[in-house]
């Protein structure tokens, strides 16, 4: 199998694009595809100071690497969740982030927030002892990460938070929301979540803008990029994510992709086009008026304390 650009041996075939590429041309293609997504969705500008949320996994480290190589000013944020579960998961993940900086971008700055050290308890204890986390530790984890990401982004004056979400992540969420007709979520799911400035929420910091530059890449392509670039990443998945609904939907979509190449891409991108072009409309559910949390000051839709601060009650 030959590279469509230069005729050298291809390392990957992307059936949805009818494209096969060698390693250097694949890295070039991933870079161009990501840059195009940044421009198409008006995510951020070259002069913007960005914060990349990194987990030590393939998606976030690939994203950080690619954005730095493109010349963007991107600092990393690693949130240590205190997950051990017999495999030192959090410690190894942090080690991967530090190794990435040392080996590939020694000039890059990595911010580390240790949830256990800063707030007293890590995710496993929180999940076991709070009603919110007993059924789904991921719900507590997501809440904690969103709060900390927003705090660091606002305190540090970052223009936006970049996350490593890829097209498979987005398609899986879309499938889940469609099957449950979660119209509020369907109305909001997007490659860019706009900033809510302080004056809109009556708070000091507001809600930071969030962007997903890998939104047009399949998960397989993000993994291939990491392998080709020699990025060492944490291969074990989070022990709490095993058997998760998102992974189940990803596998279902990959079954569909196997028999119908491009199905995932069609599903997600056509959804965005239909909604943004007005051919499909979804009502936002509930009142999303924001007000400051009585304790931390971050925006919340609840009166009094925000969901994050209620976790520590």
């Amino acid at each position: 199998m030959k590279c469509h650009k230069c005729g050298a041996t291809a390392v990957i075939q992307m059936r949805q694009h009818r494209l096969q590429l060698c390693a250097p041309h694949f890295v070039e293609w991933v870079t161009a595809t990501t840059q195009r997504a940044i421009e198409t969705y008006r995510m951020f500008a070259p002069a913007d100071k960005m914060l990349a949320a990194v987990s030590g996994g393939k998606d976030s480290l690939s994203l950080w690497d690619l954005l730095l190589n493109l010349g963007y000013q991107v600092e990393g944020l690693y949130i240590s969740l205190g997950i051990d579960e017999g495999i030192d998961y959090s410690a190894k993940s942090l080690e991967m982030c530090r190794k990435f900086v040392a080996e590939h971008h020694p000039e890059a700055r990595l911010h580390v927030v240790d949830v256990g050290a800063e707030y007293g308890q890590g995710i496993p204890v929180l999940a076991r002892t709070r009603r919110r986390g007993q059924a789904k530790p991921c719900a507590v984890c997501g809440l904690v990460k969103r709060h900390i990401m927003n705090r660091v982004a606002r305190d540090g004056g970052f223009a936006a938070i970049a996350t490593g979400h890829n097209l498979d992540d987005e398609a899986a969420v879309l499938m889940q929301n469609t099957l449950h007709w979660q119209t509020g979520y369907l109305a909001r799911q997007a490659p860019v979540l706009d900033e809510r400035p302080p004056e809109a929420c009556g708070t000091r910091g507001g809600l930071a803008r969030k962007v997903k530059p890998f939104v047009r890449l399949y998960e397989r392509e993000a993994a291939a990029y990491a392998l080709i670039r020699g990025l060492d990443y944490i291969y074990d998945e989070c022990p709490f994510a095993k058997g998760s609904t998102t992974n189940f939907y990803k596998e279902l979509l990959n079954q569909l992709e196997l028999t119908s190449p491009g199905a995932k891409q069609q599903f997600y991108l056509q959804f965005l086009r239909a909604r943004d072009g007005g051919r499909a409309t979804f009502a936002e559910s509930g009142d999303l008026a924001l007000q400051p949390c009585a304790r931390c000051g971050q925006p919340t839709t609840a009166g009094g304390l925000c969901a994050f601060c209620r976790l520590w009650e």
Binding site: V11, I12, G57, D169, E219, F240, N247, Q255
Partner: protein
Amino acid sequence: MVKVIYRDKTWEVKPGSTVRHIIQKVGLNPESVLAVRDGQLINEATLTQDGDTIKLIAVVSGG
């Protein structure tokens, strides 16, 4: 024979078939894995040879 490794599992298969065929033969979806030989990513049309060790890398992660 060709040694195939995926997470903590190992298989031995006959040489001469493509990587894509081997991935499906061991019950995996070619859309969900990448194949590596001698530390290098290889395409799914690659013909395997006697003595090859193919490592299959899962690409699905997250929660």
